[in-house]
Structure formats: structure tokens, C-alpha cells
Symmetry: D2
Subunit: 455 residues, 4 copies
């Protein structure tokens, strides 16, 4: 494996960051990647998409997050270089030749994201991982040109770390695992910008106890509680921020809005900016993709509020001006009521295809055994004094409780009007009243004597 | 004066805010204003415009700031209601009938802002204060409709507080003075999002010592140092954040970019979205104004990067992808060198009209005597035990030092290329070298033996 | 029940507190209690005793904690008065007539504590709860005199709240339950002073969701995660701070030191200050108790370092100058090894009665069902929209995991010398080596092939 | 100059610190110094003495502060080693051979302090600087034994840095100057524990800009505002915390209490512990000094509350139970009134020798020119791009305003009874009334028509 290096800048550039204090851009290649068009473009893509509708402070972008992951990778790799330098290959310690590589992989791990990635991918078949690989390896990009300074094979090496095909698991897992620089940054950053203090964990302490081992990254025995706390913080952020019902409601609206736009585009009835048009037409290029950002999307939505199509206009307006749908929790049993509810909603004047949805949001806070999938084999190991490893859920009752479980809920979304009482016109009052009979304590229920669930 | 009231919400709505913990929306009118289109639109306008290019965390918007000013006005007016309730008119204490009014004025004090207000106003003759008054008083807006619930005269009353023509100076000065809810919020908020801890001051303590008096708002004697600290924080934020040279450089680029666009538009050579076109044409309406936001502007800039006009394309690209101009400090004497420098810049291939500028940024951190102007008569008074007032600069050596002074600098902006050394082509090396001779320690200087300024 | 009131102070007194910002002393009775000798004495008793030997910042005292509990009781009772005022007796809402009572109970809930309460009670038969009742109800104390201002029955009422015999469970549980003002203050305060950020939880949010109900205090449904987070923080503080092995080691030394002092006192061989002598003699009065504080104890320890009794002198020196014992985890099985280890320790020259100990520290982080005992019937209830209650562990997987479990460990303490390797004199090397064979990964083990516990 | 080194610990010991996160004890010598009796003793001496009577959180001790100064010296010396390594002697850069020396000097810079140093030194002729030198250089101390591990000359070298006679001004000024590790630590630490946020400054940023130069330590040009902010924080801490009138009042009481004790001791009428007796007798040794701590003092005060001498008993009780004297500001003119006031105080039954005092507290926040004295030649220099230096007050208007000035006040202290109104007995009412005539807005004034000082 070649050693990748880049000249240290005569005068290190620092970026003030409210989460990590300073981001230190030490090398020419890192500075050049940050200054590239493709990287700067991330300033215009919010990290959490519609979450700012619920937590208004959450306007932070993928730009800061990528810098933050770089900074954590930089600090961890420097720390490993100091405390755990490899003496002989295969000794399970850290080879400082990997420092630049892991830092660049951290910096670029999310470079493929566009606006509202989740919705976008679903509707237009984009794939942020593949696009990220292209941005890194395509010679036409400024990112690629910056990376090639290091060596012609450097872009491929960076891409392989992000793709998890690189052959040193320590490097791969510093960027992608159940305790990686990516998650550490986004939990702290999202907590800071939303104001959700429960997302904070003790990074200083995690840094005290993190260490390399043969198959990746682990933590020393005295750090069990620090890692436990991090897993709990992650769980709290998912339940309270990422899966917030209003957040999901805005995503539902967004999805239906773009579906409607697609339909109208096919009928030739949509006004749209050229860059977005290519996605609706299905003939987009990387160049089109790189032109997409939150502002372009909102500029289109703003035009659509004037559309003659009432559904498009209304959904666009709902999204731009934050008019979420209401929702109730559902389960396998109560789902059976949905067709009935949709009929009532239709009677009240709403097209159920666009004004209702079922959305489930479940997260696996931690999994001790993942032979396959995105987080395959990334369980968290705690190293004992004699060097043996114990998997985290054997030591922590909290992690054991979360291990392998799915946390979250499934919800049925519908117009808030359905929850009205005593409307002026009284037009739909009977329908509303009928609808509301099925809702109790925020959940959908068949009509029956309430069971004594508790006490 | 009528008493303005709005029904308390059966269930108070709160908004999580990283700066103030929670924003409490207690009344129907406040909730309805927040839900209006015109207010929601502020989510798409960054509070600090291009500052995020220098401090990447500064992506917060005017939406949060307006909520924050409301929250501070709410807390201060509630505190005055508890601690300093007026018994008889003219006793210099607080009349709780003003609470709703001052809260709504806080909420709407910046509603007239559009994207990049400063540059926009300069080029297109918009005026955010007048537009704000329109949004509040024009019956077509959702803001006005929300306010009219309270009383037909309520919108005018709110507008008069913001315009400082309302007849109770306590109400006016809680929103606009040298120590008002507006400044308190933006200092804390901008400090939080930039990560600049020096902008923080002790809000809890300011709240302990703030009180009403006959002519406005003052502070009790034991709070002198808390207020002094606030003035110093304000000074620090201006010098270090708002007047940061790169921030100003991006504003210079923005200004020239829009100037160039205007020229090309007049020649019919500009591709532009309809909403922005009305500004370039000079026939914009309130409706057009309300459609403008950061995303629309950037969508246009993105189109312009493809323009056939090389200056437009380059400036658009410089703005979007953060390629600032360099700058040096200048003074009255060294200004004389600018024509010479512009000639060198032209020789190096840049049009000085678009690639250079002189920009001065001076702030008056505090003024004890302002008979006229924006902050007229808003000096800060400290109330002694016997009720007499002493103006702040008589008590604080720091405020005395800043009182009436202008702090800041004047800078000459130019392409960073002029600072190159040893270019590959060597084409302009002699020009660059000549240019650089005039720069020393970041300032412009005539060529001469360096004077012994110090030591 | 009479209504208890105290005149509001013309000028509220505030105390700056790094945890809660300000403590507001609003009434004459509260101010007078705080100024009493018995209350001021708590300034000289550390909240966490020997914990400062491990976390040096933890020098905070019972004085601040008692003020903090008062402040939280004040805020919660004011909040209940605003948001949940009782209309008719028995409606399960809050009667503001209880405000002063609950505040004074918060202020005085720990007034009976002396230095190193735990050890003291064990050795000298003191009881901080009974002594607290005496301080409140005995007419000779300044605390009692202050309380009697309110009414002759007020001291008894305050004492009954602390004793949990008062007949309004809302008042009792605000001070003593699994989610009371006492715990909320000590978790936040101990986290702040130790620097253990994992002890922090979102107090603002807890205040948003806390509410009274017929049988006590509960939380609204939207606050489940805030309460869950608080339970997890409590668990973390116990495991990481309160049960820290070095902390427990210092307590073991303290215990043996006082035991030894007692023995020597009985033999007439101890130099001791008069106040402490009464405890060793077993004839102490309340007046003696009120003279005890950390400084008096340490003054005695300092004298004892010069004692002719080598065990007393050594233990006193170990305590004062922080020379902890070492320890290993033990379990039911490995306990069988302790006699053998004690023999080795004796051979190495240490008296096992004074230089070894078994100490177990187990906490029940949460219990959903406690019909008896200190926290009887104080499970945490979450109120649904329709007013029904669900006990917390039914909603939270984390609380469910902790519910009814004991978390902690049992340890065997012994002189650190036993862990030496290669001593200069080599005198005891064989003994040390033998001893160390039984220790692996910080636990005691029988000699055998290590079992494959994991993986 | 010999190079001083100490073996790195195989396993670094860290101490959790709420101010700096972790204190890293990297070397054997540092660990051994920390574990010495003389160092551990500082756990029992509060950093701010009676300040905890005003800011109850301020219970932190000299132990943590000394560790904190060590940690800052460690970080700064490591940073200099990385960023500014000396290549040739005399190049004005940092020689890493000094690292261990400057760290130990930081650790021990305050080792000579006893309880209430200021008062103690005044009354008993102790001198914490000389005693500190003794503790470091006397072969009988554990501190000295620990240091001698490094080299026989190491203790003298450490002592010379603290005494400012060491020949490398960079080393001396890192520990003692107007911007040294000592001040940086105590400002941040005292701010944290008192809760005074205005004492905070941006340490991260100061570390970005601090650098060595030939004659000491300076700051780079881009850091002017960070240093300015630090000077302002220092000013705020002095005015608001260290010089708080109640703090000074408690010091006045302490002083008079010990004076009275001295008098009674000489008459043979004082009960006193042996260690303190030696100070009252004037025959104390280093060993006696090392036994003194806050607890010993308070144990004596507690005994004295039972004294037959009413003044001793009352003053001891006032100190222990926080009964401060009242005070008013005085100036050169109003001082003339003091004899008259003392007569009134005497008439009201108080001995003015023990119940009144004049106390002045003035600090010089910054001095650009100090040829002599404690902070001689330690003005703060800002290094320009070309290496030239500009003294701070030439660049900062705030520092210029404070430069060379004395900030603070002079106060007359007297019994709070003198401020009574309408006493029950009415015995002294006329005297009180007469007394109070001379006080206005917290200052002493001759009787006359109030001048129109302001407005």
C-alpha cells in the first residue's frame, strides 16, 4: 500500500465551528477539496432537511457536518498515532500512513448528498452513495483534481474507504460503524443546532478510551459507560428529533408534492427550472445533480404555489409555509381502520392519495450481531486489561435492552381539518365527529370499551 | 389608549430554541402571526447573509431571530408586570396593558427584511422598514389578518411601535434602543451560531436589573457591570464577526454581481427568474418582494455561472463557491495609492470596476448623546437608590472609552491573484511584485523607510 | 389545614448559583432560615464527602444543595400555581396555599446531615433524619425560631413533609420520590462540580411536562423521553461517580480510622477535640452535633497523624493525604478466596482488620413497584391525553431494563502494596506474586483455565 | 543549562476537571509531586477564602488551581514545541528542553499558600512566596524528594522560575506575567465556580494566537481581540467578585477576630489548638505552617464562639455564621466624616476598633509600562506579520482605557445595626437616624444640598 501524503500548509487554516471549536485544515489537499465547487455546494443543503420546520435552529448544512467528520477523523488518527503507533504490521495498532486517507474519507463521506436525499432517491432513482463515488473518481470534478495531487490512485483509495472495500478495517470503521466519526459528529451537531441537550455525550471521554485493534476500532474497559451514554444519546435523538411526527409529516407532504409534479410534468403542465426538469424527465447528468440544492427546490415550490393545479399549488404552499398534516399512531390491528378513515377524508373534500399516508420510522439503536447490511459486523467491543474483547451489550444493561430492537412507531397522516370541532359552516361536522371517534390518546383504536391496559 | 388582548391558548405552543430554551407562544394572535405566509417566509432568509461563508455555523435565519425578540419582549414585559406594575398613570412604572403590543412589535420588527437586505436596498431602492410597515398594515397580508383579530387598530399600533412613533417610550425602547430586545437577541444568537463566545453576556443578570422609568427602560445601580459587559460584547461582535474582512469581501462581490446583472438586464442579455426580473426592471410589487429569498437569489446566481458574459459568470461563481477578494487596510493618506493599484490590477487582466472596491465598516459601539438618528435619545441610564439616573459612560471606564467613537476600518478589496508569488507562467510576476511593495502588515503604505511607530 | 404565609421581602434577596442561575429568597421566613446558625453550618459539610478525592471539583457543600432544592421547589410550586391551580378540593390540581410549606421543606430536607454522615451514623448511632426533625422542631434552634414566625404549628408541618407523614401527597412527593426536587438538584449539581456531563438532563423540559395529580406528581405524555433521560442520568451518576472504587476506598479508610480511634479512646489513648470526644464517649447532645463539620474531623485526623499508635497514625495520614486502598471486583463464588488473601496480606505486614474490607455498592435506578421502604409508592406515572396514567417502565425500554434491578458491584479492598512487582528489598515479592495470581481484568478469580465467557 | 526529564508514565494518569476537561499527569515526577503531603494539603485551602460566603459555589481549592496552571503550562509548552521549535539558540523560539521545568513551576507556583493567606501574612508575618521556596528546596519535604528524582539541581531551578530569577524569560513569563497560565486558570476557574459568566474568555482562541518571542510570550496580530477580551474579563472579575463588598466585609471581620485572638493569647486568655498557637506565639516552624488549613482555623473559631470574651465570641460567630458588616463608599473628602461616625457607632454600643474599618480595593487591570514591582516588564505585545511588536494598549481602545488606571473603591465598614429603622426598643433610634443622614446612594456624603452630579 503506498503512503499518501500532502504538504502541510505553511500557515494552517482554521474554521471556527461551534461544535468542535476549530476545524484544522492542515494540508494542501484538504484545503483544496474544501475549496472545490462540489464541496462548497453543500453549504446550500441542510443536514436535516425539513427538521428545521420543527426545530428552527436546525438550519445547519452538510458542509459543516462533512468538515466535522473530517475534524474528528483527524483528531482520532492523530491520537492513535501518538498513543497506539504500530511497530510491526499486523500488531493491531495504528499505522500513521493511513492518516491522510482516513481524513479525506471523512471529509468526503457525504459528498454525494443532494437536497432532501431520501425523498429524491425514492422518486428519481438517484443514489447518493454512487454519486459520491463519481464525484470523487470522475476526473472532471474539482474534488478529483484536488485529490489527484496526492497520487493518481488516491481518489480510488478514498472512494474505497467510503465504499467499505478498503482492506484496513480500522480505516473503514473510523468512518462507518456503530461508533464512527460520522455518527459522533452528527449527534453532537444536530443536538447543538436543535437545542436538544439529550443528544450530547462526552466526546472528551470517548477520545480517552477509543483505540485501534486488529479488526477495527474498540474502547478500553474503563470507557464502557462513556460508550453506553453515546448509544443512549443516539437512541434519544432518533426518537425525539429525527422521528418527530411533524418532521415526518413535512416529508410526507414533500413526497406527495414531487409525485404530483412528476405527473403534471408528464402531462406537460408544469412550470419548472431547467435543472429540476431533467430529474422529472429522467435524463439527468452529474452536472444537473450538482446544481440541485435546497434553494432551487424551494424556488420551484414557490412557482408552483401559483399553479392552476389546485393539489400542486396547495401542497407547495403547505410545504413552503409549514402547514403539516396531523397524525395518529397505528399498529397492525388498527391499520384495518385506514380504508374507512380514507373514505371519511374523501367525503370531507381531500384526495386521499395526496393528503394521507402511512409512514413508519423505526431505528435499531444498536445491534450486537449484524452479519450483513449497512452496519455489518460493526458491533462495539470493549477491550479488557488482558486484551480480550467483550461486546458492549454484555456489559451494559441499557445497551442490552436496546440491542437488536426496533424503536419508533408507525403513523397515519391526514389533514388537520379532520380534527376540527364546531366549524363555522358546520358543513363537515358530522364527518369530523365520526372520524375523531377512532382516536384516543394519540392512537388509532377500534370502537370498543377502552381496555384497562395499565393499573 | 385601548387595551389590546388576545385569548390565551388552551394549550400553550412552545418552540425549542437553542438560545432561549423555549419560545412560548401563549396567545392566539401570536400563533397566527407566526403561522402566516409572510412570517414563515423568513425561514428562507439567513440572519447574517454571507457571514456563513466565514463562520459556517451562521446559517440561522430571520425567523428564529424574530421569535427570539418576541420571547425577550415577552419575558421583560412579564417581569415588569410582576415587579414594577404601574399604580397611577405617569408613575414611571409598567402598564401591563402594553404587554401584547410590545410582544407583537418584537415579533414583527424585522418582517420587512428580504435576502441580502443591505445590498438589495442599495441597488433596487427597496426599504425594509417601509415594507415592514406595509406587511403589517396592508389588509391583504396574513400578518395583518392575524393582527386584526385583536382590534382593527392593532396593526397600526404595532407598526407605530416599530416606527418609534408610538407614544409610550417604554414600549418603543424595549424594541429599539441601545439596550433593546432586538440587540440582546441577535448578539446571543449570532454568538451561538458562529461559535463566538465573546458575544455572550449574562442575560439572567441583565433581567435582574432592567426596569422601566418614565422615559423608557433603564437599569438599577447594582447592574452597571452587567450592562457594561453587554456593551463590550456588542463591540466585540462588530469588530470580529460583522466586520470580518472576508464577510465584507463577499458583500463586495455580491454588490458587483448584481450591478453587472442590472447592466446586462437593461441590455436584454440576462436570464433571470420572473420574481427577480421585476426588481431589475424596477417594477416590483409587495407580492414580488415576498417571493424573494436566499434560495431564489442563489438559483439565479447558479444560472448566471453559465452566462456568456465572463464577468457575470465569474462573479456568480465566486459568490456561490466562496472565492473572496483579498483586502488591505487603508487610511486617508494611503488612499492616494489606490488609482495606482487599480492600474496594476487592470494590467494583470481584471476590470477594476468589478474586481476592486473600497469598503468602510465603522460602528459606534455606544453613544451617550444622540439627539437625532436611528438610536436618538437612547443612551443607557443607571438608576441610583434614590431614583436619580446616571448615564452609563459616567460609571464605566470601558463604555467611556467607546462612547461616541467609531470602531472599525476601511479596506481596499482586490483579486487575491495580486498577492501571488512565483506564478508558473511568470506572465504577471513583475506586476504582482510591484503591487505587493505597497503592502505591509496588512495595510497599504507609501514606499518609504518604515517609521518606528512603536517601541 | 391553615394557610401558611410569610411577608414577601420588600427587596428580594438573590444568591448566584452556577447550577440554577439565581436562587430567589423571596420571603422573610426563608431568608431567616438561611441566615440561621444551623443552616450556615452546612457550608462546612461537603455534599459528597470523600468524592472530592477522585473528582477534585466536587468541593460543593450541603449548603448549596439545600438552597438548590428550595429553588426547584419554589419554581415547581409557582409553575403549578400558574398552570394547574386547584378549583375545588380534591380535583387533583395544586393548591397554592402549600407553596411556602413545600419551599421550606425543600430548604430543610437535609438539615440533619453532619460530616461523613454515612460513616458517622454507622459508628456513632446518629441519625440524620431524626436530628433534622429536632433541628426543625426544637425551640432552641434558630431554624425553629425562624419558622415559628409563620405560625406555631409551621415547624411541625415542615417536619411532617420531610418525614412523609404530611397528608397531601403532592407536597410530600415534590420533596421525596423517584423524581423529586432533591434528586433533580443533586444530579445536576454533582454533575456540574465533578465535571461529569452525563449527569446532566434537560431540566427546562422536565419543567414543561411535570404536573400534579391526585396522588402526587406526574408527567404529561409528551414528556416521557425527558423523564427517561433523567432516570438514565441518575443511573450513570451512581455507576460512575457515587460508586467510584477510589471514592469507596476512601470511605473504607475513614471507617477503619474512626473504628481505631474509638478503640483507643476507650483505652484512654486518644488525643481528640472536645466536640468529637462526646461521640466517641457516646454522650453527645444536639449542640455537639451542630459543632461537627468536615474541618473539625480533619483537624482531629491531623493530630492523629502524630499518634503513637501506628495504625491510627497511618490511617489518618492515608485519609488526609489520599492514599487509597486498591480493590478488585468479587462475586459470590470468588468471595471464597478472601480468607486466603487476608492471610497473604497479613504475611506482608498489614493488619487485615484495618487494611482490608468488603464493600458492596448497589443502587436500584428505578422501581415501578415499591409498597414499602424509603421510596415507597413513588413510581413515575405518565399522564395520557385522557387523564389516565401509565407507569414509566411500560413506555420506556431503557427504564424497563433498569426497573427493579440492582446496578453496581461488590469489591474487596486491600493495600496497593500487594500489587507491587519487583520491590527493591524483594522481601515480600513471593507473597505479592502469589496474591496477584488471583486477579484478572480487575476481578478476583479462582485459579483455572480462563473460561471463554464471550465470543 | 541541563536538560530536565522524567520518565513518561506507562499509563498516563488523568484527573477530571470541570474547567479543562482533563488534567494529564504524564510524567513520574509530576505524579509524585501531586501525591506529596504538601500538595495534597492544598485540598483543604479554598482558592478564594471567604468569597464562598457571597458566591456559595466558590468552594474550589488551591489544589485544583495548581493542577489547572500545570495543565495550561503543559498545553502551551507542547503547543510551542509543535509550532515554534527553536532551531538555534537565541532565535526567539521555544526550546522543548524547558517543558518539564515550566510544567513543574506551574504546578508548584502557589504551594506556599496557607489558609486566608492575605490576613495571615499581615498578622503573623508569614510570606507565602518564601514558604513556597522552602517547600520546594528543603530536603525534608515530599515535594523536594519528588523533584530530586529529575536531578539534584531541579528543585532550585523550579524555585528560580517561580522567583522570576530563572534566565529564560519565556519560561518565567509563561508562569508570571500579565497574560500567564496562572491568571488564565484562575479567571476561568473562579468564573466557573462562582457562576460569573463574565469571567470567561475564549481560551481556545488565546491558544491559537499565543507564541514565544525573544523576551517572553506574545500574541499574533489576528489575536488582538482575544487578548483584549481576556483583559476585560479580568477587570470584570476583580470588580464583581474579588472586590465584592460582602467578601471584603468578611475579610475585615476575620482580621479583627485574629487581632483579638492575638491580644487574648498574649494575656493567656485564649483556648487554641497547638498548631495555631505557634503563630500567635510567633514561634512557628514550616511543619506548623503545613498543618494549617481552613478546617483548623474554623475549628478554633468554633471554640472561640464559647469564649468569655464577648468581642472574640461575637466576631467568631459573625465569621462562622456569616454576619457581615455593612459598608459605604468613601472618598478623600468624605473620609473626614469617619471620626464622627465612629463616635455614633460607639454610642450605639460597638467598639469601633473591632466593628469598623476602612478598606480599599484597587486593581490595575493592565499596565503597559511597569519597570518595577510584581508584574515588572510584563506588558502584552502583539506581533505583526513582519515580526515587529506593538504593545496591546496601542491597538485596543478598551485596554487603552484601563491601562495604568486603578479600578475599585474604598469603603467604610460598620455594624448593619446602624442602618436599622424603627427598632422595637427605640433605644438607639436617634443615633441610627443621625448616622443614616450621611449616606446617600451607597456613599458617604457631608450634609448639604445634593449636588447635580449628572444631567
Amino acid at each position: 500500500m503506498p503512503k499518501f501524503t500532502s504538504p502541510k500548509l505553511a500557515r494552517e487554516v482554521v474554521v471556527r465551528d461551534p461544535v468542535h471549536g476549530y476545524i484544522h485544515l492542515e494540508t494542501q489537499v484538504v484545503l483544496d477539496v474544501v475549496r472545490s465547487k462540489e464541496f462548497q455546494r453543500m453549504r446550500r443543503i441542510k443536514q436535516l432537511g425539513p427538521t428545521a420546520f420543527v426545530f428552527p435552529g436546525a438550519t445547519h448544512t452538510r458542509f459543516e457536518h462533512n468538515l466535522g467528520v473530517y475534524e474528528l477523523a483527524r483528531r482520532i488518527s492523530n491520537l492513535f498515532t501518538d498513543k497506539y503507533p504500530s511497530q510491526v504490521p499486523g500488531d493491531g495498532l495504528w499505522n500513521s500512513d493511513e492518516n491522510l486517507l482516513v481524513q479525506c474519507a471523512g471529509l468526503l463521506h457525504d459528498i454525494g448528498h443532494g437536497p432532501y436525499s431520501h425523498t429524491f432517491e425514492h422518486l428519481f432513482g438517484t443514489n447518493h452513495e454512487k454519486i459520491g463515488q463519481m464525484i470523487i473518481t470522475d476526473p472532471s470534478t474539482e474534488v478529483n483534481q484536488a485529490l489527484r495531487q496526492v497520487s493518481p490512485s488516491f481518489p480510488e483509495a478514498v472512494a474505497s474507504v467510503i465504499a467499505k472495500t478498503y482492506n484496513n478495517p480500522q480505516v473503514v470503521k473510523m468512518i462507518s460503524s456503530q461508533a464512527d466519526a460520522d455518527r459522533m459528529d452528527y449527534l453532537l451537531r444536530d443536538a447543538y443546532f436543535t437545542g436538544a441537550s439529550y443528544g450530547e455525550f462526552d466526546l472528551d471521554r470517548v477520545f480517552r478510551v477509543i483505540r485501534p485493534y486488529k479488526d477495527g476500532i474498540c474502547f478500553t474497559a474503563n470507557g464502557m459507560h462513556a460508550v453506553e451514554d453515546y448509544i443512549v444519546s443516539r437512541y434519544q435523538m432518533y426518537q425525539q428529533i429525527y422521528y418527530h411526527r411533524v418532521n415526518r409529516s413535512m416529508e410526507v407532504i414533500l413526497h406527495h408534492l414531487l409525485e404530483r409534479a412528476q405527473l403534471l410534468y408528464q402531462k406537460g403542465e408544469l412550470e419548472v427550472t431547467p435543472s429540476l426538469a431533467h430529474f422529472l424527465a429522467g435524463d439527468w447528468t452529474l452536472d444537473d445533480y450538482l446544481k440541485m440544492d435546497d434553494g432551487v427546490m424551494e424556488t420551484n415550490f414557490s412557482m408552483w404555489t401559483q399553479s392552476k393545479d389546485p393539489i400542486l399549488a396547495d401542497l407547495a404552499s403547505r410545504y413552503l409555509f409549514r402547514k403539516p398534516l396531523a397524525s395518529v399512531k397505528i399498529d397492525e390491528e388498527s391499520k384495518g381502520l385506514i380504508p374507512k378513515l380514507k373514505r371519511l377524508i374523501k367525503q370531507a373534500g381531500f384526495n386521499p392519495d395526496y393528503y394521507t399516508d402511512v409512514n413508519s420510522a423505526y431505528d435499531e439503536p444498536y445491534d450486537a450481531y449484524k452479519p450483513t447490511g449497512k452496519n455489518a459486523n460493526s458491533q462495539i467491543e470493549i477491550m479488557q486489561d488482558d486484551g480480550s474483547l467483550i461486546e458492549l451489550s454484555h456489559l451494559s444493561p441499557l445497551v442490552k435492552a436496546l440491542n437488536g430492537t426496533l424503536q419508533g412507531d408507525e403513523r397515519f397522516f391526514f389533514p388537520t381539518a379532520m380534527l376540527s370541532r364546531g366549524d363555522e359552516t358546520q358543513l363537515f361536522d358530522a364527518i369530523y365527529e365520526e372520524f375523531q371517534k377512532y382516536i384516543k390518546n394519540g392512537s388509532l383504536h377500534y370502537l370498543r370499551r377502552p381496555s384497562k391496559k395499565n393499573k
